[in-house]
């Protein structure tokens, strides 16, 4: 089944009547997934948007419930919550993988997060297979295939003048069925067809044994080298498609208040600072180590997969070029001989 590129706008406009459609788009300062229509020009040529699509499921700020005193002066909590039907059109395979990681966090292990669950059930994803990865992309080293997105409802492949569509879930098939008038059954690939079946990233890392090595590297001097450079600005955590930490706070106005959650960052010292002043991660080293250990080691302990999907956003945006791919190289090269943390410099290869 194919969708002619000439008809994409007609299809999205029609779809946008029924649901909220989000597409990759260039903004004034940053690119992100933006609501289709209203002057938004889809930018399907963007490999990765600056901002990941995680706010579709986990908004940067999300109201959880209202509370306060009602007209009779009685306290109340109003937890009414609903979400709109959303189609995420043109999401890349790495970002689809990040949604799988978020599903693990918010939908498994003891508690199901109802806010996330509601949004997730109302989300339909059209993934766009990559044909030309960016220089900072390394998803294939993280176990992904840039031409596939198994968790997406529909997979789009660029076949020149059209996109080939493949439904990968019942939800995807139902949506394609509903709008079948926009599609044709042809399977033609013209001269402009782009290869998405054997795409290879130019940036490579070797993840073999990295997790097992990190299990023994909590006190390794390598973290000292990395920490020197880091400003703990938190940019990496905000642009990361899998960083899911959040704060819970409230805003109050007269007798009514709202409790909300918002993105937080393990790079900030107040993140773990307790009342009374004790902070288990007061120093910069322990926070930098926490972030990378979480991505490459702790998450795998808990959920059986890496929390880095190889999208390369943190490499692009870090103001001091602290590069996770270099860190992975360094971990691979590090010696595991028991060395005191305050001892000699580690086995860093100087890339930092």
């Amino acid at each position: 089944m194919q969708l002619s590129k000439e008809r994409v706008d007609a299809f999205l406009a029609e779809l946008n009547q029924a649901v909220r459609v989000y597409v990759p788009a260039r903004g004034e300062a940053v690119s992100s997934f933006a609501r289709y229509g209203q002057g938004t020009e889809p930018a399907f040529d963007l490999v990765n948007t600056d901002m990941p699509p995680k706010d579709m499921l986990f908004p940067q700020t999300e109201k959880m419930y209202r509370y306060g005193l009602d007209d009779e002066g009685k306290p109340f909590v109003d937890a009414t919550f609903d979400a709109d039907e959303v189609v995420l059109f043109g999401v890349r395979p790495c970002d689809m993988r990040s949604i799988e990681c978020m599903d693990d966090v918010f939908l498994t292990r003891g508690f199901i997060d109802e806010y996330y669950e509601t949004r997730r059930q109302k989300l339909t994803t059209f993934a766009l297979a990559c044909t030309a990865p960016a220089p900072t992309c390394f998803c294939d080293s993280m176990g992904l295939n840039a031409g596939q997105a198994p968790a997406a409802d529909v997979l789009l492949k660029d076949v020149g003048a059209a996109w080939q569509l493949a439904a990968q879930s019942e939800k995807g098939a139902a949506l394609l069925g509903k709008y079948k008038g926009f599609f044709d059954e042809s399977d033609v690939q013209d001269a402009g067809a782009k290869n998405s079946d054997s795409v290879s990233c130019t940036l490579k890392v070797d993840m073999d044994g990295v997790k097992e090595k990190l299990d023994q590297m909590f006190d390794h001097p390598l973290w000292e080298d990395i920490t020197k450079k880091c400003l703990t600005c938190g940019t990496c955590t905000y642009v990361c498609p899998t960083c899911y930490c959040f704060d819970i706070s409230q805003s109050n106005r007269m007798k009514i208040g709202e409790r909300y959650r918002c993105w937080d960052s393990c790079m900030f010292s107040v993140y773990s600072e307790m009342a009374g002043g004790h902070n288990p991660r007061a120093d910069k080293l322990s926070r930098v180590r926490q972030r990378f250990m979480h991505k490459l080691c702790f998450f795998e302990d808990r959920y059986g997969k890496s929390l880095c999907v190889g999208c390369g956003r943190c490499i692009q945006k870090c103001p001091v070029a602290l590069d996770i791919s270099c860190l992975i190289d360094d971990i691979g090269a590090a010696e595991l001989a028991p060395v005191a943390l305050a001892g000699e410099k580690g086995a860093g290869d100087g890339k930092h």
Binding site: Y67, G68, V77, F111, Q250, G257, Y271, M274, G276, P280
Partner: protein, 298 residues
């Protein structure tokens, strides 16, 4: 030491439950249930105990000794506390005034509204402790979580052996649950309360010592005993070393941890130690388990 190991090997192993983090079955963990303050008792100048009931006078929810709950004070904020005791119609929280929200909690009056959500986390291994002698070691506000297990054991007295409580504070007026410590608990069958303060004081004729040397000097045998420990970082470090020196196996030293928490349900990220979340996999761990978690025992 060899005798200790032989003696302990005869007793059932202590099994700490962490399965509460396994199945995703519970929804609605983040929205508080509105409740009311049933009573307030002032333990020290900066510690008080709040008893909280539903509006219609019931216990807000059932929980096991050692479990935690988020006390949600609208419109100020939320804090995680261990449930220090529970009755037919209340849950009790013992709260030290140390920050913004606890300052506001200390300003509450009987009948005021608070939110509660929970129970969260795992619990003390009260089942596998049956038949065992238990040594509690605590300092200051660290007695609050221990109290949940002590009161459970006293309510089920026949199921447990000898109870020793070693408890310290900086000065006599810093000791919480003073009435229990000095009157109620020493009168309980086969329960022994050992108190010390860190500094001499005109209103104190008991022991003056830091907790670790005081503990070591009491001549308590580790044979057949399980230790349950809770206190600040310094007490935790020194007393866990003392317990090991006294011959306690790492599996038989149990503690409960504290970290900053926001969600309480293993999502918000900040309370991790390695791959474990203290709010969900913990707060109760054995020392043997902690030694496998990176950075937990410093």
């Amino acid at each position: 030491m060899a005798n200790t190991k032989t003696a302990n090997s005869k007793a059932a192993n202590i099994e700490i439950e962490h399965g509460c983090a396994r199945e995703a079955t519970v929804r609605q963990g983040l929205v508080p249930q509105l409740c009311t303050v049933k009573s307030i008792s002032h333990e020290t100048s900066d510690v008080m105990s709040l008893r909280i009931s539903t509006f219609d006078g019931r216990r807000p929810f059932d929980c096991k000794p050692g479990q935690t709950a988020m006390v949600s004070l609208l419109p100020f904020g939320e804090c995680m506390f261990c449930v220090s005791a529970q009755g037919e119609d209340y849950l009790e929280f013992t709260i030290k005034r140390v920050g913004y929200v606890t300052e506001q909690l200390h300003a509450l009056s009987v009948g005021d509204t608070v939110g509660l959500r929970g129970p969260f986390g795992n619990w003390f291994p009260y089942e596998s402790l049956k038949g065992r002698d238990v040594l509690f070691v605590g300092g200051g506000i660290g007695l609050a979580p221990l109290r949940s297990l002590i009161t459970y054991m006293l309510d089920n007295r026949a199921s447990y052996g000898r109870i020793d409580l070693v408890y310290s504070g900086s000065k006599p007026s810093d000791l919480v649950y003073l009435q229990d410590l000095q009157e109620a608990w020493p009168q309980q069958p086969n329960m022994h309360v050992h108190l010390s303060v860190y500094r001499e004081s005109s209103d104190w004729d008991g022991a003056v010592a830091y907790t670790a040397p005081f503990l070591e000097g009491l001549g308590i045998s580790a044979t057949g005993k399980v230790a349950v420990l809770c206190g600040g970082p310094s007490l935790f470090r020194t007393c866990s070393a003392s317990l090991e020196k006294m011959g306690f196996a790492l599996e038989d030293i149990i503690t409960t941890l504290e970290m900053r928490m926001k969600c309480g349900v293993g999502k918000c990220g900040r309370c991790n130690v390695g791959g474990k979340y203290i709010c969900l996999d913990g707060p109760v761990f054995s020392m043997a388990e902690l030694k496998t978690l990176p950075g937990s025992v410093h």
